[in-house]
Structures are given as C-alpha cells and as structure tokens.
Amino acid sequence: MSAARLRSVAMYALAALILCYMLAPLLLVFPMSLTSGNTLQFPVRGYSLRWYEELIADGRWLAALKVSMIVGALSTLLALTLGIPAAIALAWGRFPGKRIVSAILAAPIVTPIVIVGVAAYFFFSRIGLVGDRVSIALIHAAIALPVVVSTVAASLTTFDRNLLRASASLGAGTLRGFFEILLPLIAPGVAAGAIIAFIISFDEVVVASFLSVGADRTLPRMIFSGVRESVSPAVAAVSVVLMTFSALLLALLGWLQSRGRRRGR
C-alpha cells in the first residue's frame, strides 16, 4: 500500500471513530428505551413498548408536549412576523447604523442562556408574567429572531427585485406584491427559518426553567426536573421521540433546501 493510500485509510478510519463517538450514544438509547424492566440497563434484558405506553398513559407528558407545541408555535409565528420585514430591511435597505442594528438583533443568541433566563425572570416577575407560557414564547422568539432574519435574508439575495417593480407597474399594490410575488418565491427560506425557530423553542430548557411553574411546564422542562435524581426509562423514551422528531424536521429542512436550490438554477 502506498503512503498516500495509507494516509487516506487512516483519515477515514479516524473520522469513522470520531463519528462513532458522536452518534453511538444517540443510537444506543433506542434499544435501551425499549426495556421491559424498571430501570435502564445495558445489555437490555427484555424488550417491550411498556415505557412508550406509559408516556401516553401518564397525562403529564402529553400536557407538557401540548405546552411545548403552543410555545413553539407562538414564538415561531412571532419570530416570522418580526423577522421577515427585518430581513427585507437589512438585505435591501441602506441606512446608517445597519451594523449596530444587526448586532442588537443577534445579541440574544450569543448571550449565555442563563443570563437571558435570569434577566427574563427578573423582568417578568416585576410585571407578573412569570409562569405564563406567553412569557416563554416572547423570549424564545427573541432567541430565534436572528436565525429567521439570516435565513430569510439569504433567500432575499437571490430574489430578482425587478419582479416587484413589474408587478407594481401592472397595478398591484405593495401588499399584493408582497403576498403574491415575494412571499411565494422566498418560501423555502421562510420555511427553513420557521423550522429552525420552532426547533430552538422546542428544545430550549433554561429560559423555560426560569419562567415556567406548575402547569405550564414545557417538555424539556419536564425532562430537566426529572433527571437530576435518576434517569427513568420514560425519559429515555421521550428522548427517542424528541430525536426522531428533530430528525424528521431536519429531513424536511434538507428537502426544502434542495428544492430551493433547484428553483434557483
């Protein structure tokens, strides 16, 4: 074997090993969550769907899922309504202080999440909104906003603005131009932004921990409060469900992007 071939084999072997380290833990949880026993252990003694049935039977998990869905939907909607116009302004507009505005919009995502959570707790406790799911959605929207702005702005750079001028010259109003010309053409970028925004909210645990009490617990909050003592098979089952859900959303995102690329050609 030549030296170059040897190096190439070594590189792929090393990459495979590292990939194994990154993915094996995620994969090992699938069989472990199917245990029929009372605790998580490996090797698994007997397989059953017991803990998945438990998730559905125990109302708290479904209730938390509902809260997570509502918070995720609210924050995604808010991030889109604010983010799309902001992306248009940042992509096409020319105004003083543009870089500062971008920096301010990006601040929530680079600030350590605990500081965001504590500050939000301090703020909302003064106006009596702690424990309300709306307060969580507001902060999640602020964290997701920069991501929405950047994905939408990216799709705007390939958009031909002459289309809007043409529609205006044919008598279409600005709103009609926005909803019937611009929005359909940048839809893949908007959808990608929406999916990422939803994932950000759906997975976020720290802000949700500071702001949620009692009935308004999100799904990550439920997991978080349970695992500090011990990890039950139910938590492993929830983890599997969440991972599958993320994988599906990611596949959807990839499909949207490949569609967007084809259209761009």
Partner: protein, 404 residues
C-alpha cells in the same frame, strides 16, 4: 406593512429601513432592557444607599471618632430609617444587604426594625436602642453602614473577583476561606479552552474526510456530523448520563472486555463533562472548518508532497495556514458557547465541575442574591467582549500583514 418593497432608489432604501423597527423594538423590549436592568443590579445599592439614607447622612455629618459609637443623631436617623423600611417591607432586604457586608447583623437589623416600627424607642434614641439591642455598640457596624452609603456600590463586582474593601476603603484580598470566584472563573475558562482545543483536533480528520470523500458520501458524512446539532442539547446531555451510568453500555463494554473488574464511576466527573461538551459542540467546529477546507484545492498538498516534503511538514506549512481562518472562527464560536454552558455541567458534571453559569443560577434561585448573580454575569459578558475585541484586532492585524 411593506410600504417600500416596490419602491426603488435612495428614498426607497431609506423607507425600507423602517421595516426593521418592529423587530428592533421587540428585541430592545424583551431582551436588551431586561438584561441591562438585571446587570445594573451588580452596582445597585438601593437597600443600604436608599434604605439607610438618613443614617448614612447623619454619619457623614458627624463622623464618629475611630473605634467609637456615633451620637444621638445617627441613632435617631437609624430608628427613622428602619421604621420606614419595616412599614415598606424593605427591612429584610436591608438586613440581607448589611449581613453580606458584615456577617451576623441580619437578625439585629430585623429585630431593631420591628421594635422601631412598633414605636418602642423614644428620644433620646441612643440609650433606648442600646438598652434593647446592645450589639449596636459595635463601632464596626457603623463603619460598615457609613462605608456603604450612596446609590451605587462596587461591592458585588469586587466580591465576584474575591476582593473586598478593607476598613480604610482600599481594595484588598478576601480571606482565603472566602475565596471561590477566581477559582470558578479559572475553571470555566480552562474547561472551555480544553473543549475548544479538543474540538479543533477532532474536527480536522472529520472535515478532511468530508472534503476528500466523493460528493455523495461527502453529503452523507456531513449530514451525520450535523445531525446531533439538531437534536436537543438537553436530550444529548441526558443520553450521556444513560450511556455512562453504572449499568450503562460503556461500563458493560469495559467489564466484558476485561479492562476493569467492576463498573467504574464515569458519570458526574470532569471526564464525562468533557465527553458531553465536546460531542455537543464538535459539529459547530466541523461546520466552519469544512467551509474553509472546501476552498483549498487538493493540488496544493499534492504539489508539496511531490516536491519531497514530508507529509506533516507539507500539512503544517501548506494546508494549516490556509484552513487557519476556519479553525479560528470555529474556535471562537465553540469557546463562546462553552463559556456559557449550564445544563451540561449541571447534569453530567460533579460538584467540582460547575461553571460560572451554574453559580449565576444558584444565586438567583437559591439565595436570591441578585447583586452577586448580576456581578458574575457582568464578568462573563466582559470576558466574552474582551475575547471578541481581541479576535477582531487579530483579524485586522492579519489582514494588514497579508495584503490580499
């Protein structure tokens, strides 16, 4: 909603700017202002500066001699201050703030405030107060109150660096048994550095494989590397607990291969913290290294090798400088995220592996010490700001030295 989308020209571009306003106002309202308000608590001295304002003023007007208790005016002011605070339900906050500066004064303040509000003290106040609560005869309390007047304080910021003001008002080291925060800061930075370095090292073979593989395989590899990025941080952390626990697969493998006789304690250690943090952050590093590596033609390395350079020399002198910007950008991202880590150290680290974020949460949730929580937050943000500025300066220098 979009008044200027179809408008062209300079006026249109100005009008377009208005579209950013709702988002800007929103972020200012729910993020910038709350964070600024919270951070301002680091220097806020409302409890002592406002709550004991009359006492501080009296001590200012008639400073007691060194080692002496002040006169009637200060005691009268104290009674007035504490009675008002009790009525406004601020007495516990004053007691807490004074107790931070001088341990053991909490109940003295609360009891005195209770008596003052009931009107149990009559003029002359000095003998009345001293008779009921003789601890006020300690000149140190009065010195502490006098030293901590004013609307602003550097007490929390200094405390977050294991410093305090001594009797003369100079900045001094806190006693060794009370030092905690410099070690915490050092540990936070050290963990972040180790994680960043490990991510950089592990990202190199992964990114090389992704760039060198044929297109189809490259896409699959890339998707596999990025997949963990999209499954939740919490789930990935919980999974490490499951995998590393006593009855977990790693211990099962260790025992089965005979490497150990009995299951080892792998979880709740620095080792498990590193494993989990690196796994969580590695995709970000790979992402930025791949984006740079794809722009480096493979012919460069081939040329260097064909001219007889040993592989490592060729890699170090040809490949590395070209992918360095990607490594630096990736390191900056990983480091910034690592510094703020909270969930992972809390769940898979031991008590000695906690980072600054955990202490911020601790002071908020458990002891309601907002001042110290805010001071630690200021410390983290200052560290990140310093990092960013250094990075920008380095980039500017690099750009000047290599004319593109």
């Amino acid at each position: 909603m979009t008044p200027a989308v179809g408008v062209s020209g300079r006026r249109g571009e100005r009008l377009l700017a208005l579209l950013v306003l709702p988002a800007l106002v929103f972020v200012l309202a729910v993020f910038v202002v709350p964070v600024a308000r919270f951070l301002s608590l680091a220097v806020d001295n409302a409890e002592l500066g406002l709550g004991l304002s009359r006492t501080v003023a009296a001590l200012d007007a008639e400073p007691p001699a060194e080692g002496e208790v002040p006169g009637e005016a200060a005691f009268a002011a104290l009674v007035a201050d504490l009675a008002a605070a009790r009525t406004a339900q601020q007495d516990a906050l004053i007691a807490q703030a004074l107790n931070q500066r001088m341990v053991g004064t909490r109940f003295l303040v609360i009891k005195t405030a209770r008596d003052a509000a009931r009107g149990e003290f009559a003029a002359p106040f000095k003998p009345a107060v001293l008779a009921a609560h003789p601890d006020w005869a300690d000149p140190e309390i009065w010195r502490t109150i006098a030293a901590n007047g004013g609307r602003l304080t550097d007490y929390h910021l200094l405390a977050a660096l294991d410093l305090r003001r001594d009797a003369a008002g100079d900045i001094a080291q806190a006693p060794p048994e009370a030092t905690l925060f410099r070690q915490l800061l050092g540990r936070t930075v050290w963990i972040s550095v180790v994680v960043t370095a490990a991510c950089a090292l592990l990202a190199l073979p992964l990114a090389s494989a992704i760039t060198a593989a044929p297109p189809g395989w490259s896409r699959v590899l890339f998707a596999l590397v990025l997949f963990p990025l999209w499954s939740s941080l919490l789930v990935r952390t919980v999974i490490w607990i499951i995998v590393l626990q006593r009855n977990g697969p790693v211990n099962a493998a260790l025992v089965a291969t005979g490497l150990t006789d009995a299951p080892m304690t792998l979880i709740y250690t620095r080792f498990s913290l590193y494993l989990a943090m690196i796994q969580v952050l590695l995709p970000l590093m790979v992402l930025s290294v791949v984006s740079v590596m794809r722009r480096v033609p493979p012919s460069y390395m081939k040329a260097a090798l064909s001219l007889g350079a040993p592989w490592f020399t060729a890699w170090r002198t040809v490949q590395l400088p070209l992918i360095l910007p990607g490594l630096m950008a990736g390191s900056a991202i990983v480091f910034v995220f690592a510094i703020g880590y909270y969930v992972t150290p809390l769940l898979v680290g031991g008590p000695g592996d906690q980072m600054i974020s955990s202490m911020i949460a601790f002071y908020t949730n458990r002891t309601l010490n907002w001042g110290l929580a805010a001071a630690l937050s200021v410390q983290v943000l200052a560290l990140l700001a310093a990092m960013t500025l250094t990075g920008l300066a380095l980039r500017a220098l690099a750009r000047r030295s290599v004319p593109a």
